[in-house]
Every structure is written in C-alpha cells, then in structure tokens.
C-alpha cells in the first residue's frame, strides 16, 4: 500500500491550519490571563499555588444517598470552631455520591484532619482507608513552579542545542518550529480547558510538556533523516523528494503514534484518576506532534 500525501499542493492549507491553531491557543492564553479569576495564562493547580486537597469515600450499604454540597458545607461551618479554615472551601460529590472531594487554601495538618472528623459527623461513616489527602504550602508551590519552568527551559535549550549540532541550520530551525508549535497548542488547549471546565494543571503537566518535546523532536528527526538520505540518492527534484520521503515515513509515524497512544488510552481508561489529565495531555501532544512532523515541518522545508 503506497501513500500519496499531496504535500506540495496543500502547503498553504497546512500552514494556514497550523496558524489558526496557534492563534486559537494564543487567544486561550490571553483570555485566561485577562478574563478569569486567577489571571494566569493557565489555571495553576494546587501543586503550584499551595492548598489542601482531600478525597475520601463514604461507606454506604447500597447506593450513596444524594446530598447537596451546599447544605453539607453549611453544616460543616456550623460545627467548625475555626471558621477561617472554611473560607474558600469547595466541596464536590463524585462517583454516584460516593466520593467526596474537598479543596481549601493551605491548612495545617490538624485543621485538615478536623474537617474530616467534622465531615464524618455530618455524613459519615467515612472510609479512612480510602483517604487521599494532599497539603502543599504556598512557599513550596512557588518553588515547584519555578522548578518546572526551569526544567522546561533547560531541556528545550538542550534539545535545541542537540538538534542544531546534529542537523543543518535550516532543518534544526524547522524541527524546533514544529516543536514549539506542538507545545503551544497543547498549552493553549489546557488554557481553554481551564477557562471552560476549570481543569487545573499540576507538576505532571510540566512533565507531559517535556515528554511531548522529546517525542515531537524524535518524530520530526526521523522524517528529516529520511529527507536527507533521499536528497543524496534520489534524482527527483527537491520538492518531490521531500514529498516522497514524507510518504515513505508516513506509515512509521502513524504506527508509532498508535502504539504510543494505546498505552496512554489504557491509562486514561483503567489507570488512577491522578494520571487522567497527564495521559490526556500526552495523548494530545502525540496527536499534534505526529501532525506537525508529517505535514507541517516538511511543508516548511518546501521551496515555492
């Protein structure tokens, strides 16, 4: 089965499509920075701003009864002694009312435990074996954020350096363009997700961006390698050789994406909830990454 992607004909469409995606991402980032309550390019989660996250399951005989979060919060306020603790508290029921999830600003571990004890009195019994509690101080949050941003910059820099040494300037430039295109779009999608669904990003999001970076460059490198090899040996014109090389490596890129997406989908479907958005970000990155390595990066190489 031969593939025949008409790269030369569709160059404008491809570049246009990518430009639209990038503009939409930038729009999301700007909207998120200026038009939301958190005023950040992306909705930073607890890892970065500090806070307290509690998840605990109720023990129910059959189905868990329906409860309104507001009335539970009211009860909680009534029996809590230190009312300050309950400022900005968010309470949700998930999983057929079985799972209670609570978010508050940073608390001491005692205060956090008091909330659970009080909650046990209101809607207990609770299953302490299923408790998942995370407390992160604001100082640590800031530090984690700087840490993540530095990691991202350092590894982007080292990847760029490697590519520049390894390839000609032109190839390196376009491979990096494709890389930033992928990262920007994934970032933009999460900006929008933050705006629309209040999805928050934590340190695993930074990890996923880094992994996407490695993956995206890898994909582009494979295609560029093929183009270089063919330019040396084939007699067709420059543009035709590029198109041919892309078609030759098309199967490989798609197959690789599929075999990487399969395990990620498994995590999304069967894995722990804490890995859900992480796998989602990675999957997005892989899809965008394969698009940019098959279509965008080679199109940029084409001569008019």
């Amino acid at each position: 089965m031969k593939y025949n992607l008409e790269l030369i004909k569709n160059k404008r469409k491809i570049i246009g499509f990518s430009t639209v995606l990038i503009l939409l991402s930038i729009l999301g980032i700007l909207y998120s920075t200026f038009n939301t309550s958190y005023k950040k390019p992306i909705n930073l989660g607890m890892d970065f701003v500090g806070g307290n996250e509690l998840r605990i399951e109720r023990v129910c005989e059959e189905e868990c009864s329906n409860l309104s979060p507001d009335s539970v919060l009211e009860n909680l306020k009534e029996i809590s002694k230190n009312k300050n603790v309950l400022n900005n508290i968010k309470l949700q029921f998930q999983n057929n009312n079985k799972l209670i999830s609570i978010r508050t600003p940073y608390l001491s571990i005692e205060e956090s435990n008091n909330i659970i004890t009080n909650l046990d009195n209101i809607i207990g019994p609770l299953n302490y074996e299923s408790k998942d509690s995370r407390l992160i101080g604001p100082k640590l949050g800031k530090r984690l954020l700087t840490n993540c941003v530095t990691s991202l910059l350092v590894s982007l820099f080292s990847i760029s350096l490697y590519i520049t040494i390894r390839f000609d300037k032109k190839y390196a430039l376009f491979a990096l363009l494709a890389l930033f295109h992928d990262l920007l779009i994934v970032f933009g999608i999460f900006s929008w997700l933050g705006v629309i669904l209040s999805v928050e990003v934590n340190s695993l999001f930074a990890v996923s961006l880094l992994t996407i970076a490695g993956y995206s460059v890898n994909d582009t490198v494979v295609i560029f390698d093929r183009i270089r090899e063919n330019l040396k040996s084939k007699k067709e014109g420059y543009n035709d050789t590029i198109q041919l090389s892309v078609n030759e490596s098309f199967r490989r890129t798609i197959f690789t994406s599929i075999t990487t997406l399969i395990p990620l989908l498994s995590i999304i479907l069967f894995g722990s909830y804490s890995l859900f958005w992480f796998s989602f970000a990675l999957s997005l990155g892989i899809i965008v990454g394969s698009y940019s390595s098959i279509l965008l990066a080679p199109s940029l190489l084409l001569k008019d």
């Binding site: 230190n82 300050n84 302490y128 074996e129 101080g137 490695g214 494979v222 894995g271 890995l275």
Partner: protein
C-alpha cells in the same frame, strides 16, 4: 551465526537473572501504591543558603526525633539541599509526627529580672485566664456553641485585652485567642534574662507521672558542665523572689522559685524536672524533642500527602490493568500489521518488561504512580524502534533483496534514527531527574531506564530472535514478513 547464538544465550541468561532478582528482591512500592504519609520539611533560613553542615545537623536531629517517636519503617532523606522528606508507611498518624518534628525545641533556662514580680503575677493570671477560655472553646460541644456562649467568651477576652492594654488584630475569636496567648507568652519571656544554660547541656530526658495527681512531668538530666551551670544559676537566685523559667521556643513552660536552703551550693545533682500540667501525650512529645536536641534552624512542614492503604492497593490494581491491557493491545496491533515481525517485537517487548522490572529491583527504583506511567509510556517508545526497523526491512524486501540481507540492512539503516530519538527523550528525562521533585523523579527514572533498555532490546534482542527464527526453513517465506495488503499488490 556463532556470534548470534552467543547473544541468544546471553539474553536467556539475562532473563533468568531477571527472574532471580525479581523473586529475591521484591519491588519497592511508593506510598501512593502501599498507603502511608509523606511529609516534606523545609529548612527556613532568612539569609543565605543552607549549608551542607546545617542540612546534616537538621537531618540528624529529625532522624533522632523520628526514631524516638517509635514509628516503624520510616524513611528520611534529604532533597535539593534544603528539604527533608519523611515517609511513614501504613496507617501511621502524621499529625503527631508533624507536631513533634515541626518544633524547633529550643530549650532555655532564664532568671527573672529584679523587681518584676508584680508584672509577672499579672501576666501569669492573664495567661491562666486565656488558657481557660481556649479550653472552654475547644472542649465545648456543638450544642453549647450558641451565640450566647460565644458572647460570654468574647466578653472575657475583651476584659483580658483591656487588662493587658493590647488589642488583637485577628477577625475571629479563635485567631484572637491564639494571638493574645502569644503576646502574653512573649511578655512573660521578656521578664527573664538569658543564662548560658540551654538544651545543649542536656544528656537525657524522660517523663514520669506525678504522684499527687494524674499529670505528667518531664525529667531533664544535665551533662557535667550543664549540672555545674544549673547549680550556679540556682545559687544566684536562691532565697530571692526571682524565679527560674524554663522556656521552650519562646514560651515559658515553667516558672519556679529556688528555696533559700540552696543559697550556698545551688541545686546540685545534675537534674531537674519540669512539671507544667503535661498530659501523657504532651510529656512524651517534649521528651522526644529534648532527646533529639533542638534544631539548628527552624523548619516548616510544607507538604503532607496521606494515602489510605485501600486506595494504594486500588492504585496498584489499576496500574496493572493499564499496563497489561496496553501491552496486549500493542501486541495485537503489531502482530496484525507485521505478522512474524510483529511476533518478534512482542517477544522483545516481554523481555523489555522483565528487564525493566529487574533493573528496578537491582538499583533499586521505588515504584510510584508517575513511575508506572513512565514505564507504560516507554512501552510505546520501545515499540517505535521496532517499527522503524521493520519498515526498513520491508522496503528492502520490496526492492527484491534476500531475507537475510534485508534484515541486516534494515537494522543498520534504522540505527541512526533510533539513536537520535532516544537521545532527545533521554535529555528530557535527565533534566527532569535533576530538577524535578520526588514525584517527577519517579517518572523520569522509569522512562529513562526504559529508553536505555529499549535501545538494547530493540536493536539486539529483536535481531537475535529474528535471526533465530530465520534458521527454520518454514519461517523463511517472504510473505510472512509482509502485511496482507502489501502481499496482494
């Protein structure tokens, strides 16, 4: 051919060794998989960086306190130069640990300034009042918690504020109570002068129940020089109306007079007791803190993660489902598309899995949720190398080359792309491992190890297995190596 056979034996040897490792050295599970608590302690230093010596000193104090607390299988390690991570596996209460570890436990012995008896009496009375209000506030039941009750407490508090000539800034009652108590403690401490006797002069601490009531007291045992200092200090104030205060982290926990009978020698014997209405729990916590010594720098608990044991085992199960279903579906995909080559890649994937796990138990790598996701993700990357090679082999076959030749040059020509791709991923892993938090490090470690092992399994194991297969005549038909679609055109 001989060299390949050598490789085959080597691979079989590695596999046996992996089994041996996995059976004898079981994998270490992180807290998110076995349940437990993790505390991150941040060393606070106003100016400059925390030095290595300071980190060591804090580490050893915390280590002693943890040991004296009697928690089992705890694990303390330093992180990034100014943090410590304490792991408490299982259902151990992190609250006590956080209370005991978080305090500086700076113990001071101070003598009262002359002519401050009256001031001290007033402050002591107010301290008693405020403690009483706090006690009422915290022990009251919900039913009593009406507006009337709160108003009484509030009025009492206002009286105290007036008496002290101090106005608190907190908005709520509880915040006010804590604030005023701090203020009183500070005022009391200010009435006393520092001496050169401190917690450093202790060689031991203990506790016992008082004989007259159910309260506990904490026993201090001084070193030789500490005992001399203590005698000297008690001698200087014996028989006067100046008191000796024992101050812990700026809060006076005991004020006592020294009888005139000690005026000549001071209190000798090298020991002292603090009897400040301790509960059994409080006495034990103070004992642990004093035994461990005071922290050279204050610390703050900046992160606490607690995961229930049930949730941990659920996480293991979920990760297993994800990993196994991922492997199976990738396997089906490969066999469907690459037929016999796909089968080869499945075998090398299984080898890949075992080698990874064996290396985790050898190094050892503690498996966490992000770690497992790194492993699962690296499955995809390991297959990628196989796909690159197989595509090349097929191209060679289309060009009419013999099977052996195609396999050889397929591996050879895919080599550079594979190495490039692996290097960029390794770069990311390396940076993540250097700069990341504990949580992130787990991911970087497993992904990095996976990428390295996949270089070996995809380049070497796949080749060896493929060569082994092709020694059988029946497995040498070209159409077994091409997909159905390809074969038909």
């Amino acid at each position: 051919m001989k060299r390949r056979q050598g490789w085959l034996f080597f691979i079989i040897f590695l596999l046996t060794f992996s089994f041996y490792l996995l059976i004898n050295y079981p994998l270490q599970l992180g807290l998110d998989l076995q349940g437990g608590s993790q505390l991150t302690l941040q060393i606070i230093k106003e100016e400059g960086k925390v030095t290595k010596d300071e980190l060591e000193a804090v580490n050893s104090v915390i280590d002693r306190r943890v040991n004296n607390l009697g928690v089992s299988e705890s694990n303390l390690q330093t992180l990034g130069g100014d943090q410590l991570i304490l792991e408490l596996p299982g259902e151990q209460n992190p609250i006590v640990a956080s209370r005991v570890l978080g305090k500086t436990a700076l113990l001071e012995f101070r003598t009262q300034k002359e002519g401050t008896s009256k001031d001290l009496k007033i402050l002591q009375l107010q301290r008693l009042n405020i403690k009483e209000i706090i006690k009422q506030y915290s022990s009251s039941e919900k039913s009593q918690f009406d507006d009337n009750f709160l108003k009484i407490l509030q009025d009492d508090l206002n009286d105290i504020e007036q008496e002290l000539n101090y106005s608190s800034t907190s908005n709520d009652l509880y915040g006010k109570l804590i604030e005023i108590k701090k203020h009183v403690d500070k005022e009391i401490t200010n009435l006393f002068i520092k001496t050169d006797l401190s917690g450093k002069d202790l060689i031991n601490a203990g506790r016992r129940q008082e004989q007259t009531n159910s309260n506990w007291e904490v026993l201090l045992t001084f070193s030789n020089s500490g005992g001399e200092k203590f005698a000297e200090i008690t001698k200087s104030i014996a028989g006067t109306n100046q008191l000796l205060a024992i101050i812990l982290d700026g809060e006076s926990i005991s004020e006592a007079s020294v009888g005139s009978q000690f005026a000549n020698t001071g209190i000798t014997g090298g020991s002292a007791t603090i009897s400040g209405n301790f509960s059994a729990e409080n006495a034990r916590e103070l004992e642990v803190q004093l035994k461990g010594g005071s922290l050279p720098l204050p610390i703050e608990i900046v992160e606490t993660n607690t995961i229930g044991a049930l949730l941990g085992s659920k996480n293991i199960l979920k990760s297993l489902y994800a990993a196994i279903s991922g492997l199976i579906f990738v396997g089906i995909f490969m066999i469907f598309n690459y037929r016999i080559l796909g089968f080869v890649s499945v075998i090398s994937l299984v080898l890949y899995g075992f080698f990874n796990l064996a290396l985790y138990s050898l190094i050892p790598v503690t498996l966490t949720l992000p770690g497992i996701s790194g492993l699962i993700l690296s499955i995809g990357m390991a297959v990628d190398a196989n796909i690159l090679i197989f595509e090349r082999i097929r191209e060679e076959l289309y060009d009419g080359n013999t099977l052996t030749r195609s396999i050889d040059s397929g591996f050879q020509r895919a080599n550079s792309s594979i190495v490039d791709g692996h290097i960029t991923t390794l770069l990311s892993c390396f940076v993540l491992f250097l700069l990341g938090t504990n949580f992130v490090k787990g991911f970087a470690a497993t992904l990095g190890i996976g990428v390295l092992i996949s270089l070996f399994t995809s380049l070497n194991c796949s080749k060896t297995i493929l060569r082994f297969f092709t020694t059988y005549q029946s497995l040498r038909q070209k159409n077994l190596y091409l997909s159905r679609n390809n074969f038909s055109n």
